[in-house]
């Protein structure tokens, strides 16, 4: 088992694991609505499949958030 940090919280994961698989494991419903940093570097979404998670990695999911005004129609 490897220990990584996801959005500030420690997770134990089984390696090998790609970033795409980690996103799936974390139940990110709409990957299109998330931007991902690995060790404080943004990971281009076209490269998620090829990024292997390593022990000690820190991963951040940043979600798109719009506003609150026009969505009440």
């Amino acid at each position: 088992m490897a220990k990584i940090t996801v959005n500030g919280e420690v997770q134990e994961v089984q390696l090998p694991l790609t970033l795409t698989e980690l996103i799936k494991q974390n139940n990110v419903e709409q990957p299109e609505m998330v931007s991902v940093q690995v060790n404080e570097e943004f990971a281009d979404r076209t490269e998620w499949d090829g990024i292997q998670i390593k022990d000690g990695d820190s991963v951040d999911f940043l979600y798109f958030m719009g506003g609150g005004s026009a969505i009440d129609n």
Partner: protein, 269 residues
């Protein structure tokens, strides 16, 4: 500089008492020019607090009129204002709170044709908009014009904000471009707890006042998010991205873009 009148010293006494602000900081606030884009959920608390703080000139951009469904969170508008232009309603309240504040109103949408012209009149821009096309427009226009801004977004029970100064991470460094239209939460799925707008808007107002007074550390190169369900706040360090399409070393964007609005965000009128 401005010489404060006795009345102003009294009005702003709780700022002046703060060692980090003082008379000098209050004068900086009174010399400041701030543009608030959107007089909605975020723009309402931002404008109210900036007006109360004595910001010298506040510009407000909004092409909408007040709707009954706005009143659940857009606290600058009252029931009597339904049907009135939001910029007019907001100006009235700002001047009622603080007659010292000069208010410019722009009863129009911010787009690629007017953004740079409007932004250039102000020292700091607050994004209080509700959609991604305008969020990217504000980001790109501010980066191009070298203007600092506060980004804000809210959804359901969550809020997100960061502050940009020239050279620090911008919205495109974090999110390369608007999400594909089809995946944006649909109108029926989304919604927002009214008080979330107040929580996030007051953070944006505080950042604005920190910028002018130089107090503390701004939310630059950090993205603050919170989940009001658990009241957990998370700050993620973010870096300026050298490959950024607008602020990187070899930017590919050299003009403002009007992205299309997803259909569900179009006005019903």
């Amino acid at each position: 500089m401005i010489d404060l009148t006795e009345e102003q010293i009294h009005r702003y006494s709780r700022h002046i008492l703060l060692k980090d602000v003082g008379v000098e900081g209050q004068e900086k606030i009174m010399n400041a020019r701030v543009l608030v884009v959107g007089a909605g959920g975020l723009g309402a608390p931002v404008s109210l607090y900036l007006a109360a703080a004595g910001i010298g000139r506040i510009g407000i951009v909004d092409a909408d009129v007040v709707d009954l469904s706005n009143l659940q969170r857009q606290v600058i508008h009252f029931t009597k204002d339904i049907g009135v232009a939001k910029v007019k309603s907001a100006k009235e309240k700002i001047q009622a709170i603080n007659p010292d504040v000069k208010v410019d109103t722009y009863y129009e949408f911010l787009d690629s044709s007017n953004a740079l012209d409007i932004i250039k009149e102000y020292d700091f821009i607050v994004d209080g908009t509700d959609n991604f096309p305008v969020k990217f427009l504000i980001n790109d226009a501010c980066v191009m014009a070298g203007k600092p801004f506060s980004h804000g977004g809210i959804l359901r029970f969550n809020g997100q904000t960061f502050t940009h100064l020239p050279g620090t991470a911008c919205y495109r460094c974090m999110f390369q471009g608007p999400p594909p239209a089809g995946v944006v939460p649909t109108c029926s799925q989304a919604g927002v707890l009214g008080a979330i707008a107040g929580m996030l808007g007051t953070i944006q107002a505080a950042e604005t006042l920190k910028y002018f007074t130089g107090v503390g550390e701004l939310l630059t190169n950090r993205l603050l998010t919170f989940d009001a369900k658990t009241m957990q706040f998370l700050t993620v360090n973010v870096k300026h991205r050298d490959s950024c399409e607008i602020c990187g070393s070899n930017p590919s964007i050299d003009h403002l873009i009007d992205y299309e609005q997803p259909a569900c965000e179009l006005k019903k009128h």
